[in-house]
Symmetry: D2
């Protein structure tokens, strides 16, 4: 049911792709926080169709209105609300898909769950467009974490079958993060990045789509964020990461690779560096027993290919109970991975901020 | 902080490995449910050290006491509480590890988070032993789901570098699940299973440990369980799966493999089979847009190797701020993956039951 | 912190009296519910300043926009969002009160809590205006409960020192409720009602204000709604009733009068009426052990006098730390009790619906 | 359903009057808190049948076992669990009442709600005995609040028709609170207290029972605790107060008396006292707009007479559908008001602590 998330910072998400608008209510922010609106807009622009070549031709302006919680340029302590009005929607594109669910989309289970009353236009509430409000909330969380020198950055580890190197999970530093955040197509290896972009364009020509992997690092976290079991850092992060449409896998540290290691390899042994406890490896991705251990927090998020493709596909007519073929018209992203960067970083910031506030309250936020 | 989970079925977990006992409170169960105590014991015995060879020599009896919520052989509608008293603990084994955190364990971040006041004996509240109460709660959830022919089964997809075949995500059936649930070491390919067990014994001799992967299928789910965003089936399941100690990765359907596919391959196209909507492939693992689509729900859970190993390891003395070497004594599992099967199945049942009750209430549970 | 309430139906309230607008997000409603927009408007109009004589001269139009969750005249299963844009606000009236808190208002503690960053104009987020979105959510809950013949009605038991008779807690019936809901100034005794209205006009002339008591009855509830302890019907209702600005007391059944009775008087003894279990008295107000018992649910809500009065009052200048005198200008209600009727009935409906859904899910809502 | 309460401090209550035991799990306490076990026992003893004359003859020993969360005399950061085992229960007393519900008790609605599967012995989970674990949790909350000089005390304002004076809501001080907490029958006027006790004994002789009112003050609260609407101090307190069996009314400050005042009387006007903002009256009970304002927090809790009385009462046989007469045997309190003091103070402490932690986290608790 629930469009509500969070223990200390609470989010309420709403809206449909082709309705009046989409938005989010954020409860739990302290008063007096000067929102960095430029950063909010920048993060939102990272989610927007970046170039006509790499992504959808839709003109999603994503200009947001602050409905409440903001007074004289600062949060006022009451729920902070954002509305992004919908414009430039062509609902006609979808009308004919009403009873012929698009493969890979929520159309069919939503039609069953909501007895056909769901807003099927552009996926309705299931649309990837709903990640825009998440980016706004996430940008605020990032802004707050930055007050404590906690930064979050990602690179595109893979698109289709192309892979670049992973982060060095021990030595990854703030400069690298900074560089990635400034990039339109964040990769560690620019040559690999160009290959990826070429591949996206090629697949677009073929009316097909690609998935990919984002690898994300969080630096500067204190030791001891998170709790055992239900509030483990992994649980909290994975919950929000899997809330992002198209995400089908999440792993921390060496993740699935850990299953092939022995304990003597996988265990991150400790050492003292300048009076600080560190580990010489970071297979655990900075999390032990569900708690941060002061090493870089590392995770990877797997995105399936965009389900909307121009090629003919087999589906069924839900009312006539017949097999039919459809071709999805309209403008769609051949690969949403680059646009997902600020979404992943944003929800990671929200999950971590929620856990930090649990212990420390909101008094430190200024 | 929180040892509390759930919206409709609420769990409160408590206890430490070497304290008085461990347990769980389950709120939200309807009255009049006749608990299948044999099934509860059976699931608990699957989590227990199976054989002296493959796992820890500790005699964890795990006999549970029902403290409340149970009257004349049935639930009575009030919170159902289980207590497993701790016996056969050798706390002395741990005393010397107090200030020298074991690599790969929660020891170090817990020491920081709790300012040294945590119960460090055997990992305290972080101990894998706490999964026993989860198994009890999960077994009840499985019993309830079975009333609707919803069954959950797993096989050991991999141990160390050994892998067997994955489930056929379209044709996996109840008979296979039944067979797996009856097995002490559930695999699809018995030969591969023997190799895995040999490997575990070999690594045990070497005082080292192994990780592995469980693949789990849920059959019989109705279409439309789950909700978009924060209550997606993936979010809900991943939250609990990552609450299990040693889990570092979770993927649904084709998971990380999806990142290498094109949309035209990854999209599960629809067909009509005997008047039922089905998909011809099941890369999505039975979940689209966060909702079940009626196909088998498939997911994989990655376990890191048991961090407790007999080999020497580098750590630090937290007070003296010196690097030291430790050897962990005591009795430990060379591989916890086989014992994790009822834990994974149990938490999956809890997550899915919680979502089903959201829509349908508890009136159907008998 | 939290602007979020509810377990099964979740509300997120937002907005400030003089900001862009106010609103509410409602999660958890099933799809396919045809909203009775006329009823929503009617309830909202009951909350509006009813006549220029009895209440504030402000022109609060309270026209609502549905931002999401509504498609082709029905709920679509995703969060239902209402926005009421603010118009006709005269913020200038409040500017001079910024640092001189109005007695009886939230001004002073809000100034401290939010470090002066709160929106002080018209009480900001604390404004009684925020009850308009509650009325909308409550009207939907009432519409749903009416599908099961559960009706909620109130009368103005007292204004200032004037009191009329209480409900007959055993014989109160649907016809009485219907009559009260159709009345602009709902009382059981019209003569007393006129006296009350005269008194309000008189006190208005004197630039002063009055409080009062609402008595509310809920008919048609099944037996067994609610749960012991934290989800008792009293806990759930009182939580929301005390969320209404100006409410300072809540009692159920004979309430505070029960403290003077003996058990032999206070106990509602049982009898059989046409094969139904009933009680011959109803001192418990239809709630025993936190659960509904099938008798009319009766409660009373005490409202303090409107704190905004035209008379001179003593306050302090928060920055200068001096005592000063203020006169509140602007247009204010001499008595908000009549306008509170749809708010009280609405939140009661929300609390009860949330409890009913807990047991029965949302499948019955059509 | 729910036996779970709280946002930051979470409680899970369990147990039945005549089952194995009762208890509570408390999540969210920081590590390193040295529990004042003497204070816990003292509070528990205040809830116990104080003297053979004034209350039940049952020997409720209420010795508690700490199951988890406690290590070397301090909290260890994991859930803190208390178990009170049941002894000296005479279940036979209740067997004959199984299908003849006791007037004023939860028996009848519980029988319906739980389809007859509820534990009817001694009220089962509905028993007032379940307040013992609440007292334990509440005593810990009081101990924590006392670190900040926040103290909570109550007097018995009335028993039956006898009333003593209310607190002076402006001048009530810590010395008065201290005196009340040391008293077995806390009143401001000892003569009135003797009258009340005589009345209880007299009514006991008559096999009847009495109700009463507690008035409670909380001193030392900072300004700005609580939040508008759903987390108002009144909402939060009332929610827990109405969770206590037998409570039927709650009012804050001048409460229901406020409904007879004018705004000019009811508004607490401000003055400066030694550079501090205070109010010259305290009709609001220290709460404005749902937030504490620094004045003493004052509330009153109305208890109905103990429903268990020795006199003959009319009830129905639920299966035979006949009217019958019952006499309740066993040992029961003629008046539970004196024993309710530590319960009311405890839940008030829990509600306030939960709100304070929301803003400030748990770092200050030592």
């Amino acid at each position: 049911m629930s469009g509500v998330w969070g223990e200390n910072i609470k989010l309420s998400i709403f809206g449909e792709s082709h309705g009046r608008g989409i938005g989010i209510i954020i409860s739990g922010l302290p008063a007096g926080l000067e929102l960095d609106l430029d950063f909010l807009k920048k993060e939102l622009s990272r989610r927007k169709p970046g170039s006509s070549m790499l992504s959808t031709a839709r003109n999603e302006e994503d200009e947001f209105i602050i409905l409440s919680g903001y007074f004289n340029g600062k949060t006022n302590g009451s729920p902070l609300s954002f509305l992004i009005e919908n414009k430039d929607q062509k609902s006609g594109d979808y009308e004919e898909l009403k009873e012929t669910p698009r493969p890979g989309h929520a159309d069919y289970p939503a039609w069953v769950k909501y007895s056909g009353f769901n807003d099927y236009r552009g996926g309705g509430h299931f649309s990837g467009r709903l990640t825009a409000p998440l980016v706004l909330a996430g940008a605020i969380a990032q802004q707050i974490l930055a007050q404590r020198q906690i930064v979050i950055g990602s690179h595109i580890l893979g698109i289709g079958e192309i892979r670049e190197e992973k982060f060095d999970p021990v030595r990854i530093n703030q400069a690298t993060i900074k560089g990635l955040k400034a990039s339109k197509f964040p990769v560690l290896d620019e040559a690999k990045g160009l290959l990826m972009q070429e591949k996206i364009l090629q697949v677009k020509e073929e009316k097909d789509s690609l998935g990919g992997i984002l690898e994300t690092a969080v630096l500067g976290l204190p030791v001891g964020v998170g709790s055992p079991f239900f509030d483990s850092v992994e649980s909290k992060l994975a919950h929000l990461l899997f809330a992002i449409p198209a995400v089908k896998g999440v792993e921390f540290g060496s993740g699935f690779e850990l299953t092939k290691m022995r304990g003597s390899q996988a265990n991150d042994q400790f050492s003292m560096q300048n009076g600080q406890v560190t580990t010489t490896t970071n297979h655990s991705g900075g999390i032990q027993g569900g708690l941060t251990n002061g090493m870089p927090l590392i995770f990877r998020t797997a995105f399936k290919p965009t389900p909307s493709i121009g090629l003919a596909q087999r589906t069924v007519h839900l009312v006539k109970k017949e097999e039919v073929e459809i071709k999805i018209k309209g403008r769609h992203d051949p690969c949403i991975v680059p646009r997902a960067v600020p979404v992943v970083e944003g929800v990671a910031a929200l999950a971590l901020l929620d856990l930090i506030i649990e212990k420390e309250g909101t008094g430190w936020i200024g």
